[in-house]
């Protein structure tokens, strides 16, 4: 079992003829992902990464039964690309693109609330069900099959924590990078709910960072609704207020909201231990699994 993606998932890659799109479409296929098509306006009828390219997402859905999109479209056009995925009524859209204007994402967010499509990202590494399929740019070789679900706002931090787990022989059901932007599709809470309802997931890692209140809200949700043990990590303890730490969403505001302290204490109050180092997170997970 796993959540959101497995080897039956039929993937269309938006932006498959671009450098990143092509490279990662190939990498996804090499990992076992069922990439069935690409969608790039003006490139219909061509072939890329060994699959047919269509002018629109809808054509890819009609011709190849695609049910999921992975989006590698430059930021200026990515908002539009997400709308296209939503209007094609896919099950899942994964937006890898970094740097989409926030107002574009606010409009996407509104449309999202009116559809049944789930959006992961943007500005995220995607998600992976080890041994079955990956959607996005995560390096497949560090993941291993197992019973820990992982959700994270940061890509490379995900890899770090997974590495700490895998090195101890602790595998993962699914790892989801939800993205570092202020407005994202799938939240911590959505991902926690998926893992809580997944029979194979016996423990959950949640990697947050400074900025916003998503971790605090997730802590409250865990307290009420999650029985699966959760271990946390929060990046940005040393970040000074008012300075954005890379991610558009990672900033401690002048009035002190979004601090690591507030997130750690909310998680602790919900019974979630928070590691001081990625290695300590693995310690907690190992203890949960006995």
């Amino acid at each position: 079992m796993s959540v959101l993606v497995d080897d039956d998932t039929r993937v269309v890659v938006q932006g498959i003829t671009g450098g990143e799109g092509k490279f990662h479409a190939e990498q996804m296929m090499e990992y076992g992902t069922n990439v069935v098509a690409g969608a790039v306006p003006g490139k219909g009828g061509q072939e890329a990464a060994g699959v047919p390219v269509y002018d629109t997402v809808q054509q890819a859905v009609d011709a190849e039964d695609a049910d999921t999109s992975v989006i590698f479209v430059p930021p200026a056009f990515a908002g539009d690309a997400i709308f296209e995925a939503l209007d094609a009524d896919l099950d899942l859209a994964v937006a890898i693109t970094e740097g989409i204007p926030t107002q574009d994402m606010a409009r996407v967010n509104k449309r999202l609330s009116e559809t049944d499509t789930r959006l992961i990202g943007p500005n995220c590494p995607g998600l992976i069900t080890p041994g079955e399929a990956k959607l996005g740019i995560l390096p497949g070789n560090i993941f291993s099959e197992g019973n820990v679900g992982l959700v994270s706002r940061s890509g490379t931090l995900t890899y770090q924590v997974v590495d700490n787990l895998t090195n101890r022989g602790i595998g993962q059901t699914t790892a989801i990078g939800i993205g570092g932007d202020p407005i994202i599709g799938t939240s911590f809470i959505d991902a926690l709910e998926l893992f809580e309802n997944d029979d194979e997931t016996d423990a959950i890692v949640m990697c947050g960072e400074i900025g916003g209140e998503d971790e605090e809200q997730a802590a409250a949700y865990i307290d009420e609704h999650v029985d699966t043990p959760v271990a946390g990590f929060i990046a940005g303890r040393t970040a000074p207020p008012g300075k954005r730490m890379g991610h558009a969403g990672a900033i401690v505001s002048g009035s002190g909201t979004g601090t690591a302290e507030s997130k750690i204490s909310a998680l602790n109050d919900a019974g979630v231990p928070v590691g001081d180092t990625p290695e300590e997170v693995a310690d907690h997970i190992e203890a949960f699994l006995g």
Binding site: E20, T102, G246
Partner: protein
């Protein structure tokens, strides 16, 4: 990230859109400031043009009644260091005789994923303090970005805030214009605090804040030009980082940090602190960095005189270990002597290829993040002993 306009730039944008603003002139020297004051007529406010809040409390805004006072104030403010920013110009502005100070603002509510319009009769003070101490004093109206702000929403926010009937129509109109500006110009925040109300019921924007979404500057060419002007007062190294296109934040410590991906770089900073060191900076090379970018990153960190050691932590997804190793070699081989010890930890995509390429005579290699950070902290401590 938001690009902050100077007050005078934001006021220009607001005035062009029809929001009333006081008479004002920008001056970059004392004589110019006095001449501007004479022309506008006393009393005038002399206001430091730096993009930080709390200018008044920090001595960056002075109200003056004659030419001598104007000269004294301009002389004191021009060239001063205000919260780390050099004051290069002042806005000389006709003082407004007000009876009331309001607050109006538009921002993105990230929790809701939609814009929110805010109005308060408690203007003239730090609105974040009001939000904390008396949240009910700020009326909020969320806006559906696919429709924009309906006229009734502007009225609703204004009436909910308890704005006096005599100016309600004008304040609604200012709020409507402000939302349109925010929407058209890819605003992150647009704020007027205070929006002054005069004895004869006129409303005037006495301050102006306009922050633009940096990710949208590609479609805001006019504002992108203002950025070039606005950015000229920051930290030298942060400017250099801008030129290289790095996400960089300068800190106070002596352990330099380079990595890929914001979350992992932040974690590296936190670990430096955890193992008893002090981070000198945050530097994210981003995803998919090629060799020249890696070399630039090392150049950046070596330019900081405080740095005594560097930890280079790359966990490749989209970034490839061989490119990173090439970049490190390139940057270090140009030195007869390596300026500061560099600790490298490579993992993820192509890390084995990277390790083969990496010239291990020039760097210290560690296998794990924890070991790499501890080693770099030790190096920095040895030097400062």
């Amino acid at each position: 990230m938001a690009m902050k306009l100077h007050e005078y730039q934001a006021k220009g944008v607001f005035a062009d859109a029809g929001i009333p603003t006081p008479d004002s002139q920008l001056a970059s020297d004392v004589d110019g400031a006095v001449a501007a004051a004479e022309e506008i007529g006393y009393p005038v406010a002399i206001k430091a043009q730096v993009q930080v809040g709390g200018r008044g409390k920090a001595g960056g805004i002075k109200l003056v009644d004659d030419a001598d006072e104007a000269r004294e104030a301009a002389d004191a403010i021009l060239g001063m260091d205000l919260k780390g920013y050099h004051v290069g110009s002042v806005l000389v502005e006709g003082a407004v005789d007000f009876t009331d100070e309001l607050y109006v603002g538009i921002t993105m509510d990230r929790g809701e994923g939609k814009p929110v319009a805010m109005v308060s009769t408690k203007g003239g003070v730090d609105i974040e303090e009001v939000a904390e101490e008396d949240p009910d004093a700020i009326a909020k109206e969320h806006i559906d970005p696919s429709f924009g702000m309906h006229p009734y929403q502007a009225r609703k926010a204004v009436y909910d805030a308890g704005v006096d009937e005599s100016v309600a129509r004008d304040v609604s109109s200012v709020l409507t214009t402000l939302y349109q500006l925010w929407d058209d110009r890819d605003g992150a925040d647009a704020e007027i605090n205070p929006l002054m109300v005069t004895a004869d019921d006129e409303v005037i924007a006495a301050d102006a804040v306009m922050n633009i979404d940096e990710d949208a500057l590609f479609r805001q060419p006019e504002l992108a030009e203002m950025e070039a002007e606005a950015a000229s007062t920051g930290d030298e190294l942060e400017q250099k980082a801008d030129e290289y296109g790095f996400d960089y934040v300068r800190l106070e410590g002596n352990t330099g940090i380079i990595g890929n991906g914001a979350g992992l770089v932040m974690t590296t900073l936190d670990l430096v602190d955890y193992y008893g060191g002090e981070p000198a900076n945050f530097l994210d090379v981003g995803g998919g960095a090629k060799a020249d970018r890696i070399a630039n990153a090392l150049d950046m960190v070596f330019s900081d005189d405080n740095v005594e050691s560097v930890v280079f932590n790359i966990f490749g997804g989209i970034t490839r270990g061989d490119e990173v190793a090439k970049g490190i070699n390139e940057a270090l081989e140009q030195f007869d002597e390596i300026p500061k010890p560099v600790v490298v930890r490579l993992a993820g995509t192509n890390w084995e290829e990277g390790m083969e390429i990496l010239n291990e005579d020039l760097v210290t290699v560690e296998q794990t993040l924890e070991d790499a950070v501890q080693r770099a902290v030790e190096y920095a401590a040895e030097v400062s002993e």
